[in-house]
């Protein structure tokens, strides 16, 4: 245990993990000797009570995460990504590649699959797990060809009458020479416009990071949800801190994360998302399977509900969903 990536605010767990490890290895050594049976029994109960204590501590830490700590959990290197969820909650995945114009961006994965009883088109950001995959995916920062590929497959879904599921997990769209030259802004903008009028149900879930236009570019949906420890906002805390606090450091990142109201609970309150999907205790990375189960339950439930609406009603309701967004003051015209 405790060999995985350690978040600083999880440090209190380390000592307990160490003790539990020690006891369990003693149990392994002493177990075969019948003369030590009573001792082993008491070790077992010690281990059990330490584990209970640990679960309590974990639950305590995760119930009090600050906004900046939430961002750190959302970026945990072992956090499940789109391809993990494809593995864990879908069957018969038929990946579809390429935008037919420039190339195939691995930072956006698209393809048909089955989730529970439903056939869907799945579109999701992929950050990459191994170094080579991370580099190919630009750490989840998609290029214009990625957004165009996503749109092409979503339009295919419309033709096939398949509902669309999108998994959002990006720090933001890629800022680079080629991306600008090939029209990063145009690619995202077109997705926003076209998703708003696709005549099939669309659900989006922010599974990790929901960074700005790069996230929204696949998230104009009938229902939008966030995993419990995901974040979603207009800019990353570091980006915001660098601009408004003139410097990004631990302290300004913490302040910026708080000001940006980027947690799942904040977004729910602002009406930007419709639901928050619970994660396993201590974050999705501690139990990907359990998290995938709650994710697929939500998707199936939501799609079954949306299926009842006619395409016209669906598109109109989607328009109204985004039409309501924003808060301002309005005086009665004089």
């Amino acid at each position: 245990m405790a060999t995985y990536y350690q978040l600083d605010f999880e440090k209190p767990l380390v000592q307990l993990d160490q003790k539990i490890d020690d006891i369990e290895s003693r149990i392994r050594v002493e177990e075969p000797d019948p003369a030590l049976a009573t001792g082993v029994e008491s070790l077992r109960s010690q281990a059990q009570s330490l584990k209970t204590e640990r679960a309590g501590m974990l639950s305590d830490i995760y119930s009090k995460l600050t906004a900046w700590q939430t961002v750190r959990v959302a970026r945990h290197p072992l956090r499940p990504q789109t391809r993990d969820y494809i593995e864990l909650m879908t069957r018969d995945f038929a990946e579809m590649h390429g935008d037919r114009r420039f190339g195939d961006d691995p930072a956006l994965v698209t393809g048909m699959c089955r989730i529970g009883p439903i056939k869907v088109m799945l579109v999701g950001h992929q950050k990459g797990r191994e170094t080579s995959e991370k580099i190919a995916c630009h750490f989840g920062c998609a290029h214009p060809e990625g957004y165009r590929k996503a749109l092409l497959k979503m339009q295919l879904a419309e033709k096939f009458g398949l509902p669309i599921v999108t998994l959002v997990d990006t720090p933001g769209a890629y800022p680079g020479l080629g991306a600008e030259q090939r029209g990063q802004a145009e690619a995202i903008a077109v997705n926003l416009r076209e998703m708003s009028r696709l005549r099939v149900p669309i659900v989006s879930i922010v599974i990790g990071e929901g960074g700005s236009g790069g996230a929204l570019g696949i998230a104009v949906a009938d229902r939008v949800a966030m995993l419990q420890h995901a974040w979603y906002s207009v800019i990353s805390p570091e980006g915001c801190a660098a601009i408004l606090w003139k410097e990004a450091n631990e302290q300004t990142n913490t302040a910026a994360a708080k000001s940006l109201k980027l947690t799942a609970a904040d977004n729910l309150e602002l009406g930007i998302v419709d639901d928050v999907i619970p994660e396993a205790l201590g974050g999705a990375h501690r139990d990907p399977k359990a998290t995938a189960n709650s994710l697929s339950d939500w998707i199936v439930r939501t799609l079954q509900e949306l299926k009842k609406q006619s395409p016209e009603d669906l598109v109109n309701a989607r328009y109204e969903r985004f039409r309501r967004m924003g808060q301002f003051l309005e005086q009665a015209p004089a």
């Binding site: 769209a173 890629y174 800022p175 680079g176 020479l177 991306a179 600008e180 030259q181 090939r182 029209g183 990063q184 802004a185 145009e186 995202i188 903008a189 077109v190 926003l192 416009r193 076209e194 708003s196 009028r197 700005s212 236009g213 929204l216 570019g217 104009v220 979603y232 906002s233 207009v234 800019i235 980006g239 915001c240 601009i243 408004l244 606090w245 003139k246 910026a256 000001s259 940006l260 109201k261 980027l262 904040d266 602002l270 009406g271 930007i272 989607r318 328009y319 985004f322 039409r323 309501r324 967004m325 924003g326 808060q327 301002f328 003051l329 309005e330 005086q331 009665a332 015209p333 004089a334």
Partner: protein, 295 residues
């Protein structure tokens, strides 16, 4: 989410009318009889500059101008009927960085004489009626918060043809200049990108015309939403236009950016805008496009 006239207003900066805040200086061009052109470094007589639509008479550098000036340059005299002036920014997130958003809003309102970073209304352009929307760079870098997003959306909706009602609609012209989404409204400003783009989908479905005019600078969430969705996209010469800002790109790729990168002429070459149009020709160009569109 929309607060109406009856909503409590205690959290917001005190309401201001145009006449209360108007007589401020024009913030986009420094004061003084003479000024130095940032492009050719020659001294330019202010009167000459203004008479030349704020384009440098020496080198044709297009100075940045505010929304009020833009409207004056584009609309036929006395035809601009401003709309949606009853919308005012709120502070839904109670945002605070080194200053509070409320303090910033009041300071910007006093500095610019604007309520927010946008002016919209009906006007005539060389005798053709149009819906004209101008972003204002002088107000919080022209950033898009709820008021900007809502004003654009209402303008598009008001100009969208409606066959059932026998309404032919109006050509929509949006002149953009913006640093992007307004950070102080965080997720809500992000959602303005989807809102305005969805309104343009409806305009398109109804067969309406949208001409997007990009001016220096147009970046971030504004570029990545309505600004790049024009049926026709025009750009002023040498305007900075992009998704990511040059500094962010430089930090990411760790190399010098090529000369002219993200400028109008670069976008023209990349196939991302239809035409680069000098300010002096913009009215003629817009009128011509309206004629060609048959709208």
């Amino acid at each position: 989410m929309t607060k109406t006239a009856s909503s409590p207003r205690s959290n917001a900066p005190a309401p201001r009318t145009w006449s209360e805040v108007r007589p401020a200086r024009r913030a986009s061009i420094p004061e003084g009889l003479w000024l130095r052109c940032p492009s050719c470094a020659k001294m330019v007589y202010r009167r000459h500059l203004e008479a030349n639509l704020n384009v440098c008479p020496e080198c044709t550098h297009h100075f940045r101008i505010g929304a009020t000036e833009r409207v004056l340059q584009l609309a036929d005299p006395e035809t601009f009927q401003e709309m949606f002036t009853n919308l005012q920014p709120a502070d839904p997130l109670k945002f605070k960085d080194l200053k509070t958003y409320r303090e910033r809003l009041v300071a910007e309102q006093v500095k610019t004489g604007q309520i927010d970073a946008i002016r919209a209304g009906k006007c005539f352009i060389k005798g053709r009626e149009a819906m004209l929307v101008c972003l204002d760079l002088t107000f919080m870098m022209g950033s898009m918060g709820s008021v900007v997003g809502e004003t654009i959306t209402r303008a598009i909706e008001a100009a969208t043809p409606n066959k059932a009602k026998g309404y032919a609609g109006l050509p929509v012209i949006i002149v953009s200049c913006s640093g992007g989404a307004r950070m102080q409204e965080a997720g809500l400003s992000l959602m303005q990108m989807a809102k305005t783009s969805a309104a343009l989908a409806r305009l398109d479905d109804a067969g309406g015309l949208f001409v997007s005019v990009l001016t220096d600078p147009t970046t971030g969430g504004v570029t990545a939403s309505f600004a790049m969705l024009g049926d026709v996209i025009l750009a002023e010469p040498r305007a900075l236009i992009g998704f990511a800002g040059p500094r962010v790109i430089q930090q990411t790729i760790r190399q010098e950016l090529p000369e002219g990168f993200q400028r109008s002429e670069f976008l023209l070459k990349a196939g991302l805008v239809d035409r680069v149009v000098p300010r002096a020709n913009m009215r003629t160009e817009l009128a011509r496009l309206i004629d060609y569109s048959g709208r």
